[in-house]
Symmetry: C2
Subunit: 115 residues, 2 copies
DNA sequence: CTGTATCCGCCTTGATACTG
DNA sequence: CAGTATCAAGGCGGATACAG
């Protein structure tokens, strides 16, 4: 495996970043989200700064489309590009697999903590 | 989406952690790896401490099996459990997708940095 | 509303030394 | 060989203020 900091690993770190994972999952429903709606959906566990930073990185990678409506007050919508849908698809598959197996993991953790 | 710190999100963060991603990918070949061989494979980009920490977390979650041979000098082998293979499978799928699309991402980045 | 800029605390990470 | 312990440093992330 190529493990030095190659482009692939950098991209992987963007996609699997703490907030990137959540953003991609939310956007995966296919619709557009306003900045503040995204924040609300993430129940404010993410700060504005980190949400912005995450969205910028994903936009730069071509995963997220940022549509700005030049009105006052500002109106910006985020959605997945076709490329982003591909990445999000795998992430959602992983998340769903975890959902199906979280009980096994929790049991394993309890067994581990016991001994 | 459930976004408060639920078990699922914690598990996701273990799996998608910086070193967890790499370790699961390496172990995905199905064989057992000794501690120092893992370090070598990761070309020493990971410190002993973080590798240990990562392996402990994955072992606790039931993804990694740790086999200790009580000999001197110590001999320990790490491998994936059936559960771990399931998780690693999705991770490898994502990594492979990224490999196939990294050129598109790089182009997007260059376009973004241009403007 | 959608950000950017700044400051700052703290946690993760890494380096080093040491142990069984 | 396979770790653990300790400590230092940097960056991540949060809070706040403010701009367009």
């Amino acid at each position: 495996m190529q493990v030095t900091m190659c482009p692939e690993r950098a991209i992987m770190e963007h996609v699997t970043s703490k907030w990137g994972v959540l953003v991609l999952q939310v956007l995966h429903d296919g619709s557009s989200w306003r900045f503040s709606d995204l924040r609300r959906e993430l129940q404010s566990v993410v700060s504005e700064k980190m949400l912005t930073q995450t969205l910028r990185t994903l936009e730069r990678d071509g995963f997220v489309h940022r549509e700005v409506y030049p009105v006052i007050p500002p109106h910006v919508e985020y959605s997945l590009t076709p490329l982003g849908k591909g990445a999000a698809h795998h992430l959602v598959a992983l998340a769903s697999w975890i959902g199906e197996h979280s009980a096994e993991v929790t049991e394993s953790q309890e067994r581990y903590d016991m001994s």
